[in-house]
Every structure is written in structure tokens, then in C-alpha cells.
């Protein structure tokens, strides 16, 4: 590199005689051949040969020089090293070749003086070579050691720069950083962490990581910590609270990382801690808002359902809970008459009273919306616990509430459910409480009702029936049976009552008392009644055709709702027309309350039917409330005395004088009004005999025949029986 070598030792023309020169050239060639490959020299073979030629000439000159000096030999040795003939074989071969060949090549073999000079020059060459090589070796050793020092300095300064950078990062980081050893001894914390927790580094160093445990820490935080320390995981994140030096709390996001040594063994733990207190408080506020009713400040539906869900999630065997589902009575009236402001203030006061009367561990009062509240009681021991709560609430609400100069009395209805949690769900509990609240309302309000599974089952069955009824009508699950109305005097069948039945695919054959009321509620009674009417009229028409004057009329029940149906008259007329049935072959039976309670319009419908020639009968007479004065003016042809009066006439050898008297009076009353009388529920011959004696016109009951298919009537009419 810097050691540039001038391969030309001398440029002037040699003063040596040509024969000697030729010998020198020949020697140089041998020399080159001997040493090439023994050292690395950055020269071509020709350059090496030239270099050695020059050195040979220098040597030969010194050999013959006067006065003789050994310095050139020394110089030649030195130049060999300079040219990087540093392989020690080079020196050995050179010395040997000089001794063996040089004098012979020069034609001076046997010249003792030259022999002696050559030996001296060989010695000098070896000394010069050794000295130059030694210096070169020392210089290179020194250079390489200096390079090592340089490289180390360089590496260290980079390391220092890197460490300074990391130190700056640690110190200046806005995130809190702490380092602890594997036993939890805190080694260092940065400024951000000191500020966050309010402790200095020195104070922090007194602590173990485990001292930073917070009672509210999730169990997972320390479970993961143990795993990390054991080297089972390398880092984890957690939400964690810390106590500040001033006693306040800090909410943080914690990331804990494990630092391992070169062998992979846990060595340090590094915590990165971000203060999220503000975010946490905001979240808390938002969460509070999301889970509370802004008007009353009570927990809202969402929080209640969440709590209820948790109760069910944490349930152990035999744990019980209860619910009061509460609804104010008549709140809508207050809202509508006094305004929403007053309504709202009322709700606030009710909420306050509820909260006041049921506060305590394991109890939660929530506003479900509107004027509905719910009280959850966890860990109840039985129904009585919840009944006590409900009683307390009802008492608490008794005192009038004064709002804007009004003294408002409010009451509430409460549905109570209390049960063991296993085997039920929160949805069941809520639904049952809701149903029970409805019962409390239906039972008269201002009270509580207790959930009753049997009542519920009945209602469910009722509901099932009412829900399946429309399709049942379409599918033809209904059918009509007929029971004869028999003239007592001569046992002639004068009429038949049409009675609807339901062949239910699940419940079997159902009597009208199971479904007529439901049909009334749902309104299905109108199409059902129309269907029965048509069926009965078709049958009546058939009897008329088959039996002529002996054919009975059909008596069809008309429900209250049907009697008020504006289409009634038109329906009846159309059916009679379509069946080609004379109107006097049809009798419609109405209950007392249906007829007496009617306003003008339905009464007009009855008159129209009556005018048409249809017979009208009052069913179950004597069990309702009849206005006897009014009765006189009604378009009625027949009274049917309720079967309950027949009890006393039943036995063969004694009779109840009161029942007997009532029936006699009713018969007289009817006859006084020119009405026919039919006794229902005639089950024994004694009853038939007594009724005849009392002047009753017609009888109906098992004594004569049970309700049955129309063919039974056919047989009766033919006199088959």
C-alpha cells in the first residue's frame, strides 16, 4: 500500500565485464526459480526476475568492490523484505543458492578471497533480512493492535451513543417505564412513572412489584405476572389500578415484558404503564349514563337486565331470587290531565320512595320505562321475602304526593315472582313477573299478585285455544250437536237446541264453556256463531223436507257480541234465505244480560228478527238480572228456566219447596206475559212429572236425550226409539 517498492536497484550501466554480467544474469534466473512461490510478492514472474537481477548485480559489484564492504549485503536482505519476500524459505533458499552457485556462475570457483567475501556478504544479507523482517513484523503487529484499539473505540463510542439514546428514550418517554429484577425488586423507574405515581426513584426502589398490588386488581393480572416471572409468557397487557403517593388512584394500561439473558433465562421485567385515568373516568361516566334513568337516577332497564343476567350467571345450586314488577295505577290519567311535568315529578317521587323502601345489599330498584319499575331481590329465602318488599312498597306509596299544589294519591299493582334460579332463566323470570303484574291489575289494582303456575298454565291453555281457534274453524274442527226440546204434555219433539263442539286435535272434544268466552274475547264468536247458525239452519231445512209439519225448529245461541253485531239481521236473513228455511223454524237464544243490557240499536235488531218471524228466547232465565217491567215490552217468545232450579225437583219422593215455588212462579210469570216456558236440565222422570204439573210447556235435558248428532234427532222423529 504505502510501501511502494522500486524494483530497479540501479539504473546506470554496470561497469562489470560482460562475462561476469552474463554469469550474474544466469544466477538471477536460478534465484527467481528458487524463491518464486516461497513468498507472496505483488509482482509478475518477469518483474520478480528483474528485481532479483538487479539485486544480483548489486551483490556481484560488492563482491569485487575495493575496498570491500558488507553493507550492500545488508541492503539486499533488507530490500527482499521490502519487496515482501517475507516467507522465511525465501532467505534459506537464497543463502544456499549464493553459496552453491554464485562463484561458479561467475567463473571464480576456488577463489578463496572471493569465497571469504561471499560468506561475509551472505552473513550481511541474512542479518539485513532478519532485521528488516523483524521491524516489519513489529510494525504490522503494532498496526493491527492499533486497528483493534480503533475498532474498539469505534464500537464503544457507538455503544455509548446507543446507550445514551436509550437512556434518553427511557428518561424522556411520556409513557411510564419501570424495570425490576425477577424477584420483583424495582431497579429503575423513569420520570413519567415517578410523576404518575407520585413516588421518587429512591422511594420506588424500596418497593417490590408485589407491593403495587391493588385490591381491585383482576385476578388475571397477578396470575399472568406469576406466569411471566416463571418464563411461561413473554409479555402481557392488563388494565390495572395503582395507589398514588397522595392516596388517589390511577387507572392504567400496563404492558409487562420479560427480558431474558443470553441463555434464555428470565432476567428482568420491564413495565410500560400508560395513565388512562381520564379516559377511565369518562368511560365510567358514559357507562353510568348508559345504565341509569336520567329522570329518577335509578338504574335503567339495561343495567337491570345486566344485573339479572349476572345473578343467573353466578348462580349456585339452591340460590333463589325474586322480582317485583310494579306499574302505577292510572298514571296515564295523571299525565293526561295534569301534564307530563307533573307526571315526571310524580315518577321522581315514586322512584325515591321505592329506592328508600327497598335499599340494601342484594336489592336493586330500576325504572323499566314509563311508569314501570322493577325490584330485584337477590338471595331471597322464599316468597314471603318478596311479599314483604311489595307490602312495604305499597305502604310507602299510600301517603299522598304533593306536586305543584296537587295532593296526588297513587297506587301501584305489583307482580311478584320468587323462585330457585336453577332450572329457570332470566327471561322466564321477567315474563312471569310481567304476567303476574297483569293479574294484579286484572284482580283490581292497588295490590300485589303472586305468580301461580297453575293459573299460568290455564291461561296458557286458554291462549293456545284462542290462538288456534281461527284455523280450527277453517279446518272444520267444530261441529254441531242437537238436543231435543220436548213438549211435556205429549212428549213431542218440537224443537232442538244446536250446541257447538270443538274436536281439538290436542285437547280432544271441548264443550262450549271451554271456548265460547274466549271466542267472545277475541271476536271470533261472530264468524263462529254465523257458521253454527248456518249449520243449524241447513239441518232444520233437511228435517223440514223430510218430516214436514213434524219437523222441529232449531234453537241457536246468540252470544252478547253477536247480538250487537250490526250485520246480525242481514246475516240471519241471508242464511234463512239460502237455506230456504221459514223464519219460525229458527229460535235465537240470548242471555238475560244480553237482552236487558242492550241499548236501543241491538234491541231494534231483535225486533227486526222478531218481525221477520224468528223466535227469540231468553236463556238461563232467573240467574241474571231481569227488569220484569221491561220484559213485557221485549220481542221475546220463550223463557228458558236455568237448570240450577231443577235441583230441588230432582228426587222422586221429596221436593224442595223453594225451588218448586220459584219454578211455579216463573211459569206463571211467563204465561202472564204470553211467553212459552222451557225448563232446562231435566234429568229425572220426577222432574218431568213435576214440571208438567207446574204448567211448564217444554223440557230439555238428559232425561229426554243428550245432545247428539243430527241423526239421533232423525230417529226420534221417526219414533224409532
Amino acid at each position: 500500500m504505502t510501501e511502494r517498492v522500486d524494483h530497479r536497484v540501479r539504473d546506470d550501466t554496470s561497469p562489470l565485464d560482460p562475462a561476469v554480467l552474463a554469469g550474474a544474469e544466469s544466477f538471477a534466473r536460478s534465484w527467481a526459480t528458487a524463491v518464486i512461490g516461497s513468498s507472496y510478492v505483488p509482482m509478475t514472474r518477469a518483474e520478480v526476475a528483474q528485481h532479483l537481477q538487479d539485486l544480483t548485480e548489486m551483490l556481484v559489484e560488492a563482491l569485487f568492490a575495493s575496498p570491500f564492504r558488507t553493507a550492500p549485503g545488508y541492503e539486499i536482505g533488507s530490500r527482499l523484505v521490502d519487496a515482501h519476500f517475507t516467507g522465511t524459505d525465501t532467505l534459506g533458499r537464497t543463502i544456499q543458492l549464493l553459496g552453491d552457485d554464485l562463484l561458479a556462475e561467475l567463473g571464480a570457483t576456488g577463489d578463496d578471497r572471493l569465497q571469504s567475501r561471499l560468506a561475509a556478504l551472505q552473513g550481511a544479507l541474512a542479518a539485513g533480512y532478519a532485521r528488516a523482517l523483524r521491524e516489519r513484523t513489529l510494525a504490522e503487529q503494532e498496526a493491527i493492535r492499533a486497528a483493534v484499539l480503533d475498532a474498539r473505540d469505534q464500537a464503544e463510542s457507538m455503544l455509548r451513543a446507543s446507550e445514551a439514546r436509550f437512556r434518553a428514550m427511557f428518561t424522556e418517554a411520556a409513557i411510564g417505564i419501570g424495570i425490576a429484577d425477577i424477584d420483583g425488586r424495582i431497579l429503575d423507574v423513569n420520570q413519567a412513572l415517578q410523576d404518575m405515581l407520585g413516588f421518587s426513584v429512591e422511594e420506588m426502589r424500596q418497593y417490590n412489584v408485589r407491593d403495587l398490588m391493588h385490591p381491585e386488581d383482576a385476578g388475571s393480572v397477578w396470575r399472568l405476572y406469576d406466569q411471566l416471572i416463571a418464563g411461561e409468557c413473554d409479555h402481557y397487557r392488563a388494565e390495572k389500578r395503582f395507589h398514588r403517593a397522595d392516596g388517589e388512584q390511577v387507572w392504567t394500561h400496563l404492558t409487562l415484558s420479560l427480558v431474558r439473558d443470553d441463555h434464555g433465562e428470565p432476567q428482568y421485567q420491564v413495565a410500560m404503564i400508560e395513565d388512562v385515568t381520564d379516559r377511565h373516568l369518562l368511560q365510567n361516566r358514559l357507562r353510568y349514563q348508559a345504565l341509569h334513568d336520567p329522570l329518577t337516577g335509578l338504574p335503567n332497564r339495561a343495567l337491570f337486565l345486566e344485573r339479572l343476567g349476572r345473578v343467573f350467571n353466578n348462580r349456585a345450586k339452591h340460590v333463589r331470587a325474586g322480582l317485583c314488577y310494579l306499574d302505577l295505577d292510572g298514571f296515564k290519567v295523571i299525565n293526561d290531565s295534569l301534564g307530563h311535568d307533573t307526571g315526571d315529578q310524580l315518577l321522581v317521587e315514586v322512584g325515591r320512595r321505592l329506592d328508600h323502601s327497598v335499599s340494601g345489599e342484594g336489592k336493586l330498584v330500576a325504572r323499566m320505562g314509563g311508569d314501570e319499575f322493577v325490584i330485584l331481590v337477590e338471595g331471597s329465602t322464599g316468597e314471603q321475602d318478596i311479599v314483604d318488599v311489595a307490602d312495604r312498597v305499597l305502604t310507602e306509596l299510600e301517603a299522598p304526593i304533593r306536586i305543584a299544589g296537587h295532593e296526588l294519591s297513587v297506587s301501584a299493582s305489583i307482580g311478584i315472582v320468587e323462585r330457585q334460579l336453577s332450572g329457570t332463566t332470566s327471561a322466564d323470570l321477567m315474563r312471569d313477573a310481567d304476567i303476574t303484574l297483569y293479574w294484579a291489575k286484572a284482580d283490581g289494582k292497588a295490590r300485589w299478585a303472586l305468580y301461580d303456575p297453575e293459573r299460568n298454565a290455564r291461561e296458557v291453555a286458554r291462549f293456545t285455544l284462542s290462538a288456534t281457534m281461527p284455523r280450527a274453524l277453517e279446518r272444520g274442527e267444530f261441529y254441531v250437536e242437537y238436543q231435543p226440546l220436548v213438549r211435556l204434555e205429549d212428549s213431542t219433539v218440537t224443537g232442538v237446541e244446536a250446541l257447538v263442539r270443538w274436536q281439538h286435535p290436542e285437547f280432544g272434544r271441548l264443550a262450549p264453556d271451554r271456548f265460547i268466552e274466549l271466542a267472545e274475547e277475541t271476536g271470533l264468536i261472530v264468524p263462529l256463531g254465523r257458521w253454527v247458525l248456518r249449520k243449524a239452519c241447513e239441518e232444520a231445512r233437511r228435517w223440514l223436507v223430510e218430516f214436514g209439519d213434524a219437523a222441529p225448529f232449531v234453537s241457536v245461541n246468540l252470544a252478547v257480541r253477536q247480538s250487537r253485531d250490526p250485520e246480525l239481521v242481514r246475516d240471519v236473513k241471508r242464511i234463512l234465505d239460502e237455506c230456504a228455511l221459514p223464519p219460525h223454524h229458527l229460535q235465537l237464544e240470548l242471555t238475560e244480560s244480553a237482552i236487558m243490557g242492550t241499548a236501543d240499536e241491538p234491541l231494534e235488531a231483535l225486533r227486526a228478527l222478531c218481525d221477520m218471524g224468528v223466535r227469540i228466547a231468553i236463556d238461563d232465565f232467573g240467574t241474571g238480572y231481569s227488569n220484569l217491567a221491561y220484559l213485557k215490552h221485549l220481542p221475546v217468545h220463550e223463557l228458558k228456566i236455568a237448570g240450577s232450579f231443577m235441583e230441588g225437583l230432582r228426587a222422586e219422593n221429596e221436593e224442595d219447596p223453594v225451588d218448586s215455588q220459584i219454578v211455579a212462579t216463573l211459569v206463571q210469570l211467563a204465561h202472564a206475559l204470553s211467553l212459552g216456558v222451557t225448563a232446562e236440565g231435566v234429568e229425572t222422570p220426577a222432574q218431568a212429572t213435576r214440571l208438567l204439573r207446574l204448567g211448564c210447556d217444554t223440557g230439555q235435558g238428559w232425561f229426554f236425550a243428550r245432545p247428539g248428532p243430527p241423526e239421533n234427532i232423525d230417529s226420534l222423529l221417526r219414533g224409532d226409539l
Binding site: 512461490g37 486497528a147 483493534v148 446507543s162
Partner: protein, 270 residues
């Protein structure tokens, strides 16, 4: 926390260094006991190794001179090692003082030594980098401040690629350099290797000692060696045994009776 990747590793003189072992074989004293121990051991396994090493050095000289004749004045010497006599800049700047050279080596000591020797030579830069990462080398100021990539550059890989395993994708590494080079640029490579049937116990012994004590070594055969020149046109005489690449005299081709265990070639980027 991980040590940043720009922080140097420890400088451990107990660990043999490729660069210093080479210096030892070339007759230099830029080495320590651990280097010499490995160097001597290798010579015991394979006495002809010194000749092989001298030949790599000789190929370097011949290749640089040839490239100078072709007009190349910029050299990127990858894996340059300890600057022993007969270095690229001596040859190149001897021919044309304006020649520019960048030496690249991963060995911190070799780099520090090169810097101290070359301090003051404006046309030579020394870069400490891993030559297996062409992007990092080519992006360094040492390379970019000195070399003009619009002009031809000769990339030298002397006795280097047999320290790059197949897993490290040598072709991709060379491709990384090739793609930055202007047309008429060159690639010169010398590489320890032989055909499968030429393998001897001594070759294996040297390799396994290197694998164990210094750095893993991969001998390649002629076909594998030739594939390194993907994207280059081979200069005459193509891929040959190293001494046969443009020998300076017929005497350089000493018949040793056994095929020489190294290949060499120079390629020109089209």
C-alpha cells in the same frame, strides 16, 4: 429490549478472523495467536493451501490490471480483508492516480486498519458493512459519495463467495449489486471449489475446521460457480481454474498433477 442493529458486536481477539488468517498465509504479521493457530492447522491439513491463497491474490492483480486496460477506473472490493501489499488501489492508482476504490468488509479490525493506512487517500473509502446486504452497501455514503454509478464499476469478490451459503442466496446478493451497475461494468469472482470427483479429505478437513472455528464455508463446482454470473457476459477465457485465468507467463501454469481447487472468472454487464 434488543440491542439496536447498528451497535457493533464485541471485538474478540480469541476468535479467529478470516481476514487475519489470510494475512497470516500471505506472510503478514497483521494477526494474532488464534488466527495463526487456525492458519497453521489448515496448512497441516492442506499444505498446498498457501499456494491457493497466493493464487487468489495473484488473480486479483491480473483481474484488476485487465479491467484497467478495459478502461475501468472504479472498483468496489467486497470482502477486502486486511490490506496486505498489492492491494487494488495500489495497482489501480499506480496505473491511473484518479482511480477510485471502495473497500468493504464486515471485520471491524480489518476496517479500522484499512482506514488508518488509507487516511489521506481521497480516492479510497473503507466501509464496514455486511456484503450480503447489497442494499445497505449501495446506500452507504462511503459508496455513494465516491463512486459514480453512471460510469462502469468493477465489483470484486475475491475469495469471498465461498463464505456465503446457498441458504443466503448468493445469486440474489450478486443480483442486488448487478442491478445498480451501469452497462460495461464488471464482476470479478474467485471461489474455492472443484468438481465432485476431485474432492479430497484435506478439502473437507479445511472446510469442517472453518465451519467450526471461523465461518461456514461452501465449495462450489464449475456449474454452480458459473451461475453466479447471471446477467453478465463472461470475459475470455470464461470460467476456468483460477491460475488459468489470463496467466502472466506460461510458467504460472505449473502442472501440479491435480486440478486446481478454485475457479475464477470476470463478467461484463451487458
Amino acid at each position: 429490549m434488543e440491542r439496536p442493529n447498528w451497535a457493533p458486536g464485541d471485538i474478540d481477539l480469541e476468535r479467529p478472523s478470516v481476514a487475519r488468517i489470510y494475512d497470516y498465509w500471505l506472510g503478514g504479521a497483521h494477526n494474532f495467536a488464534a488466527d495463526r493457530a487456525v492458519g497453521q492447522k489448515a496448512l497441516e491439513y492442506m499444505p498446498e493451501l498457501r499456494d491457493v491463497i497466493l493464487n487468489h491474490r495473484s488473480f486479483l492483480r491480473r483481474a484488476v490490471r485487465h479491467l484497467l486496460e478495459r478502461g475501468v477506473r472504479q472498483f468496489l472490493d467486497l470482502g477486502s480483508g486486511i490490506p496486505t501489499v498489492g492491494n487494488v488501489h495500489e495497482i489501480a492508482q499506480g496505473a491511473d492516480p484518479t482511480s477510485k476504490i471502495v473497500y468493504v468488509d464486515l471485520d471491524a479490525v480489518a476496517v479500522a486498519h484499512s482506514r488508518s493506512l488509507l487516511n489521506g487517500n481521497e480516492r479510497v473509502n473503507v466501509l464496514q458493512a455486511d456484503v450480503r446486504d447489497p442494499a445497505a452497501v449501495l446506500a452507504s455514503p462511503e459508496v455513494n459519495d465516491l463512486l459514480d454509478f453512471d460510469e462502469p464499476i468493477a465489483v470484486l469478490m475475491i475469495a469471498l463467495m465461498h463464505f456465503v451459503s446457498d441458504d443466503e442466496k448468493p445469486a440474489a446478493i450478486i443480483g442486488g449489486y448487478r442491478d445498480r451497475l451501469a452497462p460495461e461494468s464488471f464482476l470479478a469472482v474467485s471461489h474455492a471449489g472443484y468438481e465432485a470427483d476431485e474432492e479430497t479429505g484435506s478439502y473437507r478437513a479445511v472446510r469442517s475446521m472453518y465451519d467450526r472455528s471461523v465461518t461456514p464455508m461452501t465449495y462450489r463446482n464449475k456449474a454452480e460457480f458459473t451461475s453466479l454470473f447471471d446477467g453478465f457476459e463472461l470475459v475470455e477465457p470464461g470460467v476456468v481454474r483460477m491460475p488459468a485465468w489470463r496467466p502472466e507467463s506460461p510458467d504460472d501454469l505449473e502442472p501440479s498433477g491435480r486440478p486446481f481447487p478454485a475457479f475464477a472468472a470476470v463478467g461484463r454487464k451487458a
